[in-house]
Symmetry: C2
């Protein structure tokens, strides 16, 4: 099945305790597409860049099966840019610069062929822009997932709730789940968020893993403990891309397959953080992925013996 | 197999956002023994109390198969007392009072019959006192576990390292693992701590679960997400008690059984936090425990499908 992803394609400048990367490739859509490309080659990417964005990066995406018909290139424009600095523990970061550039005028037009995509991943964007995308879909979608952040809860809660009401899966972090629901307990928060619309909720906890809530079930995927987390930028988008790519490949949104999709996302995210930008993510083999899937199985599997 | 546990038996006064409990039963040894008693009735408890400690609480422990020959009662003495207040998020707390009372003169004497216990759980105490216990053991132990905290790393690191060198399993939280090892990554921290002696390391992360490290393997047990965490006091000791009780019952310290023991500990801890003191922990049935074991299985199990 095909996957449509809408979001940023951008440049990042990153400082971590391990070093600095200037003006490297970033953006939610970029991470989502690369991660998903390990599971499916039917990907439609809808985004906007300036003419400063390197052609070879776009060619590399095309080579992975990513259709760029929905990528708008603005002549004379500059691509979206974000700069951030991570603290020693890698769990918190300061934003040093956000330059919207061409993103300020992003009016996504979904190509005809992409409007019937069975799986849709909306990266973090203004809720009004996310809604514009939803209105262009043909209504035959199997699963629509939405990523967002506290910033939109602070300044555009009403529009955000409208778009949340239209999706099947919401991905946010634990503090955002608490802010959105007004509940401290994540179990109670999930109940409130289900009542807003989405049948699935994924709560991302960074180094502490991710929780999947359906109405009835809870599933937990740990983050793989690593000797060195080099750069967490893009890990959440990579997680979402791996998950959605796996769903598009398997075309099954039942709870047991959702669990496998969450693991697939966690596996891809574990590679993402091992280097700056997409460096590690671009160079994976199928056996790299399978080996790490096996690590997750060993880390989580136990034989149940009742007392 | 029998289990020896040495640590505090105490009173706590607890304030949480949900209420206050004055002068209720607490202490590491109390939580450890109650939790372990759901798996084995061969438990030796070694601790010290004043004559203010209620007889019916001791009788309740005896009824669960806990041998109190090693419990010293000091006539005219007052039992150890701790008071604390939890913040809104339940992840951090302030200590309002610590009164050592009879604990200041605790010189544990291990009863003859307990010296050959195959499993030993040393609750958090002065490292010198923990070492005193180890010197009284007959050397036939299958697994000795040690709990400690940052306080001893700050003021008695040398003695602490001596006692850590003598045990098979160390339980600490993530920040303590970083402090003890000087490494930020928990994978690197585990490597350093293995080189100090223990073949197993359990890193407790509270609401984020627990990690088990052996030389070769990593296993992760999530904490069960709950609608309401009422009072986290004793959860770490309850986890350790459930784990050690399960090991004493099954007499197998191989990695696959260690995984099951970690789950058993996580199940018991999930009950502990649902009420003040030992209120919930004292009233469990075998089917309560089995139902929750099944919840953990559903929360962690996925069918691996290679890509």
């Amino acid at each position: 099945m095909s996957l449509l992803t809408v979001g940023t394609v951008a440049f990042d400048t990153i400082e971590t305790p391990y070093g600095r990367a200037d003006q490297v490739i970033g953006g939610a859509c970029t991470y989502i597409s690369w991660a998903a490309s390990y599971f499916t080659d039917q990907i439609h990417l809808v985004s906007i860049v300036g003419d400063d964005f390197p052609d070879e990066e776009l060619q590399a995406l095309t080579n992975r099966g990513v259709n760029l018909d929905g990528l708008e290139k603005v002549a004379g424009g500059k691509s979206f840019f974000w700069a951030g600095r991570y603290h020693n523990n890698m769990n918190s970061r300061d934003t040093l610069a956000t330059e919207l550039n061409v993103l300020a005028d992003f009016n996504p037009v979904i190509p005809e062929a992409a409007r019937s995509s069975k799986f849709v991943m909306l990266g973090n964007l203004t809720p009004a822009v996310q809604m514009q995308v939803l209105k262009q879909l043909d209504g035959t979608q199997q699963l629509i997932a939405l990523d967002t952040m506290n910033f939109w809860m602070d300044i555009a809660m009403e529009e955000l709730r409208e778009v949340i009401a239209c999706v099947d899966l919401l991905t946010i972090n634990d503090e955002e789940a608490r802010q959105l629901s007004g509940e401290h307990s994540l179990v109670s928060a999930a109940r409130v968020i289900h009542s807003m619309g989405p049948r699935y909720l994924v709560i991302k906890k960074g180094e502490h893993g991710a929780l999947l809530f359906s109405d009835e079930d809870i599933f937990f995927a740990p983050a793989l403990p690593l000797s060195r987390v080099f750069d967490p930028t893009g890990a959440g988008d990579t997680f979402a891309g791996g998950m959605m790519g796996y769903l598009a490949k398997t075309n099954d949104t039942g709870i047991e397959n959702m669990k496998r999709a969450i693991i697939a996302g966690s596996v891809l995210a574990s590679f993402c953080v091992e280097d700056f930008s997409l460096n590690k993510l671009k160079a994976l083999s199928q056996s790299d992925i399978n080996e790490r899937l096996e690590k997750f199985r060993k880390m989580m599997h136990f034989d149940l013996i009742y007392t």
